[in-house]
């Protein structure tokens, strides 16, 4: 069965310092993995996705994530946090098997301190 675990419910960083949001997954298939961002009172927006091409995936707003099969991880990073990065971030894995369904992590709320 597919599952996804976001290891931190809250992360606080200072502006200009690196961001690391951790995600581990479990999948019976070769997974597709996604990171979405949700700003307050808004819908979710795709940051980046891994679909079995390059293991280092670059997304919008300077974010990137590395797919590590041996560690079953897909951590999200950014070299330098900006105040506008404060939001909730969701790691998502596709269920696979032609079902076209997705499993969402419980989210990590990122706080950026001035």
């Amino acid at each position: 069965a597919q599952s996804v675990t976001q290891l931190d419910s809250h992360v606080s960083v200072s502006e200009g310092t690196p961001v690391l949001l951790r995600c581990n997954y479990s999948s019976s298939y070769s997974p597709s993995l996604f990171w979405y961002v949700q700003h307050p009172n808004k819908g979710l927006q795709l940051l980046l996705k891994y679909t079995s091409a390059a293991t280092l995936v670059k997304g919008i707003n300077g974010f990137e994530a590395e797919f590590k099969k041996s560690e079953t991880s897909f951590h999200l990073t950014k070299p330098s946090a900006h105040m506008s990065d404060a939001a909730e971030y969701f790691c998502v894995v596709s269920v696979g098997g032609g079902t076209y369904k997705y499993i969402f992590g419980t989210g990590t709320r990122l706080k950026v301190l001035a």
Binding site: K42, G43, L46
Partner: protein
């Protein structure tokens, strides 16, 4: 391009009332989804549809119904509202792809429902 549009954005219901959350997309996507978001719980799938006339249950379908008469519209109906249905509801859609689950989900801005 409007994308995915949800109405209403906010609604307060009394216990036992019924209502319909509307969702429309203008991207000609075959796949559409309804999720509910509760604090600390991520998003849970209520129902989904792979095309007009085809719907299926997700993880948490009890207390809800859907229909899909057109490609554009995917309304979610709440019958006999209960306090447990207080949540934020998101509609999403994605393109049909040739295979696999690599498609990006496009989300509406959500409908915040309170049942008192």
């Amino acid at each position: 391009n409007a994308g995915v549009t949800q109405t209403p954005k906010f609604r307060i219901l009394k216990i036992g009332q019924s209502m319909t959350l509307q969702c429309t997309q203008d991207m000609n996507h075959n796949y559409m989804y309804w999720y509910r978001q509760d604090p600390g719980m991520g998003l849970k799938l209520i129902y989904y549809s792979v095309g007009a006339g085809i719907t299926d249950k997700g993880e948490v379908p009890n207390g809800y119904n859907v229909s899909r008469s057109t490609t554009e519209d995917f309304p979610l109906r709440l019958e006999l509202a209960a306090p447990s249905q207080t949540s934020v509801y998101f509609c999403a859609s994605r393109q049909t792809s040739g295979g696999g689950n690599t498609g990006e989900l496009f989300f509406g801005e959500g409908s915040r429902l309170t049942v008192l």
